[in-house]
């Protein structure tokens, strides 16, 4: 058992393991990436895992883009990204101004070149294992800012339906998450119980809320880690009772050729990676579809 295998997936993160190539060495270009069997089993069991970025520089780059744009929009000087994010609430924006700021930040961040590709590269090993080399990504990355005491939080919910059960959600905190400054998730077992409650006629919604509060696993995560969870899991963010603001990104990936939910391609997703085989097949079809 390697060191990674000894870590519970929701309290400690891991690096996906590159299988050894023919010469006994894992190489950048030829390695076959797989989750270790233990973590694959854990993901199947719980429906989620926390993984460290394989390319930490890429995540730093994403954080830098957001930091720069946020400072520019607010017209404030700040040299330290961590302090800026954690103490964001000290800017004193009211609800309306905060919403305007967030909408503009999301728009400008998603206009920056290749942000989804950078995130994909940062977690490529894990994403290859979960969805395969033919992958699509949500076209627009969401940015969530949760200031201390902000009661504007979504109730516990799952993404599928209307999203596809063949999607994985990537939740990427830009700040350290602890206590209520994080996210809570119901594993497969608890989500199944939740489904039973909501499928009753009428839905046992109050029981469901109690279950979510009792069974939600609060996640403690560092910047540089990401939560990968199945769209069938219920999740929620608690009211942030800590003294720091939480910043996080979320986006969804799926296999290009797996079933879609109500959100398709190219309205919601776009291609981020193609396997060599798909490239050959598409290239062949193109010759007859688009003759020169």
């Amino acid at each position: 058992m390697d060191e990674c295998d000894s870590h519970p997936p929701f309290s400690r993160s891991f690096q996906a393991q590159g299988a050894i190539g023919g010469n006994g060495n894992a190489t950048t270009n030829t390695r076959h990436i797989t989750l270790s069997q233990t973590f694959e089993n854990e993901f199947l069991e719980s429906g989620f895992l926390v993984a460290k970025a394989h390319q930490p520089d890429q995540i730093e780059q994403i954080k830098g883009i957001i930091f720069d744009k946020a400072r520019e929009i607010l017209d404030v000087d700040s040299a330290n990204a961590e302090s800026f994010f954690d103490n964001f609430h000290r800017n004193g924006l009211n609800d309306s101004d905060l919403n305007d700021f967030r909408v503009r930040l999301i728009s400008e961040f998603n206009s920056a070149p290749n942000v989804c590709e950078i995130i994909f590269e940062a977690f490529k090993d894990t994403l290859f294992s979960l969805v395969g080399p033919d992958a699509v990504v949500q076209k627009s990355v969401n940015i969530v800012i949760q200031q201390p005491g902000d009661t504007s939080v979504s109730p516990a919910h799952r993404d599928a339906p209307p999203n596809s059960l063949y999607e994985v959600v990537v939740w990427l905190p830009l700040t350290k998450c602890y206590g209520t400054k994080g996210m809570s998730i119901l594993d497969r077992s608890a989500s199944s119980l939740a489904n039973e409650m909501l499928e009753k006629e009428p839905p046992a919604y109050e029981d469901f809320k109690k279950l979510a509060a009792a069974k939600g696993t609060p996640l403690e995560m560092d910047f540089g880690e990401a939560l990968f969870f199945w769209t069938g899991l219920y999740h929620y963010i608690p009211v942030n009772a800590e003294s720091e603001t939480r910043w996080s990104l979320n986006l969804r990936f799926k296999n290009t050729f797996s079933p879609y939910g109500r959100k398709g391609i190219p309205d919601y997703f776009r291609i981020v990676s193609s396997s060599p085989l798909s490239k050959l097949a598409i290239g062949q079809a193109k010759k007859s579809d688009l003759p020169t």
């Binding site: 398709g264 391609i265 190219p266 291609i271 598409i282 688009l290």
Partner: protein, 137 residues
């Protein structure tokens, strides 16, 4: 100010009324620096061949392009009609799709988008009803 034809989709008019489709395509025209000067729609029988729009284009109207409600309007025949899309582009017309917020303004762009459109075709074919005219959504 650019001028566009708006091509509504009778295949989904049970869900999106014509009035709603006018609003959506009108906004797409505005987003692309133009306005809708004429609208049309295929009959249920011509959805797959786009006979109505083909006929209008043969008149070589002095417009900048066409705003479609959605990409699926090119898939009613069961495969993506790359031929007609190329014909529109080769005749100098821009082609816009409101649902997907997708604009194709020249042939080079079609080359770049080909993989995405081919995947769309693949997925659309899996949902293709035996009788396109019976589509309600």
């Amino acid at each position: 100010m650019k001028s566009f034809y708006s091509c509504l989709d009778n295949g989904c008019s049970n869900t999106l009324t014509q009035a709603m489709q006018h609003t959506i395509n009108g906004q797409m025209a505005t987003d692309n620096f133009g306005t809708v000067v004429f609208y049309t729609a295929e009959d249920r029988e011509t959805l797959g061949h786009q006979s109505v729009m083909r006929s209008k284009i043969m008149e070589r109207p002095a417009i900048d392009g066409i705003v479609y409600l959605r990409l699926y309007q090119f898939c009613y025949s069961g495969t993506f009609d790359f031929g007609f899309l190329m014909e529109l582009l080769d005749n100098g017309y821009e082609v816009h799709f409101s649902r997907e917020k997708l604009s194709i303004q020249h042939r080079d762009q079609l080359d770049e988008l080909y993989e995405t459109l081919k995947v769309f075709e693949f997925l659309a074919a899996q949902e293709q009803p035996s009788n396109p005219g019976a589509l309600s959504d």
